[in-house]
């Protein structure tokens, strides 16, 4: 019987009795009541005394000119990770395009990012320091020479020059500077030339056509006189039929 009672008591939840102290919705902060004399004395006694650290210092010690407010990072592990990622992007993409960026709202930047992402291209800006960390000592070191002012980089794992140019035409704030095409540094003009080259099948068909043209020209020249004669005879036959 007592065991059952004890178990029932343990199962019961203890509800504490709550009485709210602040009954008003607005709390008085601006005009607090003056404390009682005893409390006021206590507060006056226990008020903390902060000594002025600049009390006995000479003006020369107080001068803040030439003071560096922040320390330059000697080694930032996160920056090293980003630099490693950047180098991998450089090594894995067949086409890397560098843009100069004029003032562009974040909305426009995001739209550009989204459009490039649809073409499976990576549109990103990196800091000069991160780029230096990533590319120093690699064959891509010459990128640092023109990575000045505001920039944007687009990494493309495939050689889709036309699609890239189509997307970048929508954003006049992005000015194409140079590119890396299959590990080779090319200028803007050369990139435009590459964009005019059709795909492999079309190029092969064009080559076959050029090779065939010699033979077909020769046949045409040989048969030309006979064809003219045949044509004239046909015309004469028609004239006779009409008569």
């Amino acid at each position: 019987m007592s065991l059952i009672c004890r178990k029932a008591f343990l199962l019961e939840r203890c509800k504490p009795f709550l009485q709210p102290k602040r009954l008003k919705s607005k709390i008085n902060v601006q005009k607090p009541k003056a404390p009682h004399h005893e409390k006021a004395t206590f507060l006056a006694f226990t008020k903390p005394i902060f000594l002025n650290p600049n009390y006995e210092k000479r003006p020369i010690e107080l001068c803040t000119k030439g003071e560096q407010l922040w320390k330059k990072d000697e080694d930032n592990p996160f920056q090293r990770i980003i630099a490693g990622e950047l180098l991998r992007w450089f090594q894995s993409s067949r086409l890397v395009v560098f843009y100069h960026m004029n003032p562009m709202s974040s909305d426009d930047q995001f739209k550009a990012y989204a459009l490039f992402q649809k073409q499976k291209m990576h549109f990103k800006n990196y800091g000069k320091e991160t780029l230096r960390m990533a590319l120093e000592g690699t064959p891509y070191e010459s990128v640092l020479d023109f990575y000045i002012s505001r920039n944007m980089i687009v990494f493309s794992p495939e050689l889709e020059v036309k699609k890239l140019l189509k997307v970048s035409k929508k954003f006049p704030q992005l000015i194409l500077l140079a590119a890396i095409f299959e590990g080779k540094f090319i200028s803007k003009d050369e990139l435009m030339e590459y964009s005019l080259i059709p795909n492999l099948q079309t190029a092969q068909a064009g080559l076959v056509q050029t090779l065939d043209r010699v033979g077909s020209n020769l046949i045409q020249n040989l048969n030309s006189q006979q064809n003219i004669l045949v044509g004239q005879l046909q015309e004469r036959a028609k004239q006779l039929e009409e008569k």
Partner: protein, 140 residues
């Protein structure tokens, strides 16, 4: 012994404050077209690129929406320059940016081009009436 504080209460941020001050004075109203040409691999292309960045900003562009800014990228290691075609006179101003800093370019731009704007035009665009001024005008 101690002297009272003298000097400015606000401190300038250095070079960028000077550039911003010049940019506030830039007015593209007399300009028809700006042509910026540079080679990205040229050692002194930075100033032109910075100038291009500043001039295409929304505030400067708002002074004249019809002004076209054209960028020419070349790869013959030629010196960078900025060519400004004026609307009224048809003349063009050429700034050779090889040995100039951004601040100097903007100063020269303001001296020769922004100064061509008549003062009446600038006053007209900058009036912003406050609420109390509008009330007073209504009462009168």
């Amino acid at each position: 012994m101690s002297i009272y504080y003298s000097g400015t209460f606000k401190r300038s941020a250095g070079l960028i404050s000077a550039i911003v001050k010049q940019l506030d004075l830039v007015n593209l109203k007399p300009v028809k077209k700006i042509q910026v040409q540079f080679d990205p691999f040229h050692p002194q292309a930075e100033t032109v690129r910075d100038f291009l960045f500043h001039i295409t900003g929304p505030k400067v562009a708002a002074t004249n929406l019809k002004c076209a800014i054209k960028t020419n990228i070349v790869c013959d290691r030629s010196d960078p320059f900025i060519k400004v075609d004026l609307a009224e006179s048809g003349n063009s101003v050429r700034l050779l940016a090889t040995n100039l800093t951004v601040l100097e370019i903007l100063q020269q731009f303001n001296k020769h081009i922004s100064s061509l704007v008549k003062p009446d035009e600038t006053v007209g665009t900058n009036i912003v009436q406050t609420k109390s001024e509008k009330k007073k005008a209504r009462r009168k």
